[in-house]
Assembly symmetry: C3
C-alpha cells in the first residue's frame, strides 16, 4: 500500500534539492514543476560542476531529450556521485528508438551507473527491453508487446524500477508493481508531460527509498492534479498552466480520495 | 487559390514529424505550437544524430536565433539529408543584419543546401537581398526598399519561397505570390512570434509540396488563431496562452470564413 | 529621490536593446520580461558574435545559472565591449556558494571586467563578500550576517551597485543606498523571479547612468506589477502570467502611488 499523502507531505516538508541534467526544450517546466510540488530544483550541466552539484543535492534527474555526447558525459559523472551518496537517479529515456545514437547513449548510461528509476513511454521502454520497435521522434508508437512485461523484464535485469507512462502508468520493480490510473487525456496534448512526470518522480524518490512506492505516489499526484486542472481548462495551454497551480495547491484530502494505484503481477 | 482548410485537415490527419534545430529561447514554444496545430515536433541538435533524426522526420525547421558555428554545422548536415529525401527545409533567418557573423552564417546555410522556405522579418530579408540595412538585434527596422520586391528577387535567384512576416505577411515565389492579411497587433508584443510562424510553416510544408501555398495557408491559420485569441485576452501573456489554445481548437469553418490570402504580382 | 515614473517612461520611449548571455532555464522569460517593460531583448551567446552584438546593444545582462567555462568566456568578451562603450553590465550571480566552481567563475567575471550592477540573493551576495555561507542550489539560505552591510562592502570595494533580492530588496552603492519594499510573496513561489528582476534592471540601467537609481526604479516597478498580479491570481502559474501582463500594462499613476523606495545608510 502506497501512502501517497504521507510522501507528498514529506516532499513539502523536506524540500529536497533535485538536480537535473536535462533537455533545452522543457528545462524551465521541469524546474518549475519541482517548485510546484514543494521541492527545489537546480539545473546545471557543466561537466566541471555536475559531480559537485550532485554532492549537495538529494536526487538526480537525467533526461536525454536534447542529448550530446558531452552532456551524457556530464550525466554519467553526476550519476556516479549520486550512486556513491545513495541519492536516487532517475533517467527519462526520451526518444530512445528514434535514432540509433539515442538508443546507444541511453544504454551507455544504464550500463555505466545504477539508474534507480528508468522512465519512458511504451516504445522507448520496449526498445530498451530489446523489442524491435521504433519511436516517432519523442512520441510513443503502438506496440504489439505487453509493455508491463517488458518493463518487468528490465526491472528484474537491472534491479531497478521501470516506469512506463501512458493512459495508465506502469511501475514495475523486482518486488511490487503498480498500475497508476490517475491522469487525463489533456496531458497528452502539449509538449513535455513525460519530462514533468520524471521531475516529480525525482522529488518523491528523494524522500522515499522504496522507489516503486515513490514512483507510484508521484505519478498519482501528478495525475490527480491533471484531473483537477481538466475541470477548469478548455485547451491544452490553459490546462498546462492550471496543472501547475493544481500541483501547488494539491490538497491531501483530495489526493486520498482520488488516488488510483493498483498493485498487480 | 489556396485551400487552407484542406491543408489544415491534412496536417491534423497525417501528423507530420517536424524536426527542429532551433534556438534556446523559443524552443519550447516552437515544439508546442507544432503540437497545437496537430503535428509532432522533435527538437534535437547533436551533430551525431541530426541527419539520422531528419531521416525519420517529414520536414526540417532551422532557426539561427542562438546560433553557434557548431550548431550551424549540424543544421547543414540535417538539411543535406532533408534535401536528399525531398523533405522541405525552412530557415528562419533570425537576427540577420544585426551582426556580420549572423549574416555570414545564414548565407553559408543558403549556399550549402536548398532552403525551400526562407523566412524573416523586413530587415532580415532585405539584408539577404543585398540591401544596406540593419537589424536591431532580432527586431525589424523600417526600410525604404519594397520588401515584396526584395523577397521576389531572392525567390527567383534561389528558386524557393521567401516569406516576410510583418503586419501583412508576404509569400514570394518564382510562380505565385501572396499577401496574407490575417494576424493581430498583439503578435508583435511578446517574444517569439516569428519563430512560431516558422514552425507552423514547417508543418504545412510537410504535407504540401507547393510551398507557396503551404506557407500562405500556415500563416493564415496562425493569423486567424491570433485574431480569435485577441478577442479574449487583455495582455500579451494571456494572449499568447490563448493563441496556443485557439490553434488547437481551430475550427475549419472559421478558417474558411476568416482567411485573407490575396494573390499578387 | 528616484523618479521611477520618468525612468519607466524613458525605457518605453527609447526601447533600449538589452543583450543577454544567460541560462537555458529562464532564457525565454528573461527575453519576454524585457518586451513587457517596453525594451527589446537579444539573447545570443556565441563567442564569435558576443562582442559584436554588444556593440549594437545598450546594456548587457549576464546570468550564470547554467554556466560553462566557454559561456563565461563569451560573457567576459561581451562585457569588455560593454565596458569600452560604457554600456551597463549587470551580473546575476546565480548559485554562487552552491559549488566552488560557480563561486570561482563569478569572481573571475568580477575581476575581469567592470560589473556595474551585481545582483544576487542573500547567500550569493554574502558568499561574494567573503562570508562563510552556502547556497542551496540556487536558493538563498538564511544567514546570520547583515546582508545590507555585506552588499555595501562589496559596492565600496568594487565601486559598483550591489542588489540583494529578498522580501525587501537592498540596493547598495558607494553613494546612496535604497530599500525597495515592493513585491509579493508569490514571486518566491515559481522559478526565475530573480532572473526576471535582473533583466528588468538591465532595461533601466540602459537609460539611467545612476545605476543605484535605475536599480531601485526597476525593482519597484517589478514589485508593483507583482502586487497587482497577486490581486488576480490564485496560484503561482496564473500569477506569473498575470505578472507579465501587469508589467506590460503598468500604469504610471499606479507606480507613483504604490512605489516604496526608502533611502538608508
Amino acid at each position: 500500500m502506497v501512502d501517497t499523502v504521507a510522501l507528498l507531505e514529506e516532499v513539502r516538508e523536506k524540500k529536497p534539492l533535485v538536480h537535473h541534467i536535462t533537455n533545452w526544450v522543457t528545462i524551465y517546466d521541469c524546474a518549475n514543476v519541482v517548485r510546484m510540488i514543494g521541492a527545489l530544483p537546480v539545473m546545471t550541466h557543466a561537466i566541471e560542476e555536475s559531480s559537485e552539484m550532485q554532492g549537495i543535492a538529494n536526487a538526480l534527474v537525467l533526461n536525454i531529450g536534447t542529448l550530446t555526447p558531452h552532456l551524457v558525459e556530464s550525466m554519467v559523472k553526476a550519476a556516479k556521485k549520486a550512486n556513491e551518496l545513495r541519492h536516487p537517479v532517475v533517467l527519462d529515456a526520451v526518444g530512445v528508438g528514434a535514432t540509433e545514437f539515442r538508443t546507444r547513449k541511453a544504454i551507455e548510461i544504464l550500463d555505466s551507473v545504477q539508474v534507480d528509476v528508468l522512465k519512458g513511454n511504451k516504445s522507448e521502454i520496449a526498445k530498451l527491453a530489446g523489442a524491435n520497435v521504433f519511436t516517432r521522434g519523442v512520441e510513443a508508437v503502438e506496440i504489439e508487446e505487453n509493455v508491463a512485461e517488458l518493463a518487468a523484464k528490465i526491472a528484474k535485469e537491472r534491479k531497478n524500477v521501470v516506469v512506463v507512462t501512458g493512459e495508465h502508468d506502469v511501475v514495475a520493480s523486482p518486488d511490487k508493481s503498480y498500475l497508476v490510473k490517475n491522469g487525463h487525456a489533456l496531458l497528452g496534448r502539449f509538449v513535455g508531460t513525460g519530462c514533468l512526470a520524471a521531475s516529480v518522480l525525482g522529488c518523491f524518490a528523494a524522500v522515499e527509498i522504496n522507489y516503486a512506492n515513490a514512483s507510484a505516489a508521484a505519478l498519482s499526484c501528478f495525475g490527480i492534479a491533471a484531473e483537477l486542472a481538466a475541470l477548469k481548462a478548455k485547451g491544452p495551454a490553459a490546462f498546462k498552466q492550471q496543472l501547475f497551480d493544481e500541483l501547488y495547491n494539491l490538497d491531501t484530502a483530495a489526493v486520498k480520495k482520488m488516488q488510483k494505484i493498483e498493485g498487480f503481477k
